[in-house]
Symmetry: C2
Subunit: 206 residues, 2 copies
């Protein structure tokens, strides 16, 4: 098991309806040490991949995107959500259905912040049906830029997002992939992944 | 002039209606070097102040809050916004009017993430009428915790937030205070502040 899987087992809470709550360390309160380890682990997994921009979507992807931007020393862009379809000349706009909020969102980026020369590493906290990830890929392609890869903290392995993205040939790295979870017994089964060899002591960004 | 004032002069755009757009480096695209310098400058200004938690509000405060959490090595919490008044036993809830979105938002934090022993440094990108800052202070006080200080990137000096907070005795540090701006001439006047003595070369977090 890697550090994130261990943290999920320790502090995650499974709720009825296939919901994994990790807001004690990932998307409401942020455990800065877990976040730093995530940043280092993404950089390790995407070793050798050219990246000159980090892209995420507001709000909970911003923390990990910022630490990755710091680590890569490249700009970070976060796509914004809006219910109004204010597609204008100066924005790239895509659509994504939010299962959390049960509504369709427009997702947009101002055109000056994505360029045709960009090699974009997309990061987000969760991947389930892949709505947000596909919207972000769409925005990158609208700009004529390239998706260098997608880094996800927690992938819900039974939902279609991960398998679709891999079938599309996207380089996808998910730090923890939940294969099964049971709210009544509070048990989780993760998909097996090779464990990284880096000792925790070496993971400080400072 | 400090680094942030220089950056605002260089890349900020003044729009009609007293709007300062800084989304090329602060709240849509993030210039990671400016963000790192902001984190260091907050830490310098709050030197000697005990801080064991960083608090902000989604979405654009999360980037600077994350780098400050990294620098202080303490947890970060971001308050969430919701239009629904789902005040429950497990959340602290306050209200804040958003001038950007022209609506009243509920702002909430799950109770386990604010404790009576917390010394909370509140950070945000903008301070204008102080709605968000007062809501965050309210949440901290509901938890019986202490506001160690408030760090703001850009304060709009003509609006009431800053003067109210200072009158209330809150320790407020704004990196750039806009006294006047004119969209027709694209000119800005900043309130004079002592310039920090740290050379830029020493500001890398890495």
């Amino acid at each position: 098991m890697n550090f994130l899987e261990e943290k999920i087992l320790q502090d995650g809470v499974i709720k009825e309806g296939n919901i994994l709550k990790v807001d004690s360390f990932l998307n409401h309160q942020i455990d800065i040490d877990v976040m730093r380890q995530m940043a280092y682990e993404f950089k390790r997994r995407f070793h050798g991949v050219e990246v000159n921009k980090i892209l995420t979507i507001e709000a909970s992807g911003i923390a990990i995107a910022t630490l990755l931007g710091h680590l890569y020393d490249v700009p970070v862009v976060f796509a914004k959500k809006s219910q109004t379809a204010n597609s204008t000349d100066d924005k790239y706009v895509a659509q994504a259905y939010s299962f959390t909020h049960k509504k369709m969102n427009n997702v947009f980026i101002s055109k000056p912040y994505l360029n045709a020369t960009d090699k974009v590493l997309i990061v987000d906290d969760f991947l389930a049906d892949g709505q947000a990830a596909h919207a972000l890929i769409d925005l990158v392609h609208q700009a004529g830029a390239e998706v260098a890869g997608i880094g996800i903290a927690i992938e819900k392995g039974q939902q279609k997002g991960g398998s679709e993205l891999r079938a599309e040939g996207v380089r996808l790295e998910s730090l923890a992939i939940v294969e099964e979870m049971d709210w009544q017994t509070q048990t989780i089964k993760f998909r097996e992944q090779p464990v990284q060899k880096i000792a925790n002591q070496n993971l400080k960004l400072k």
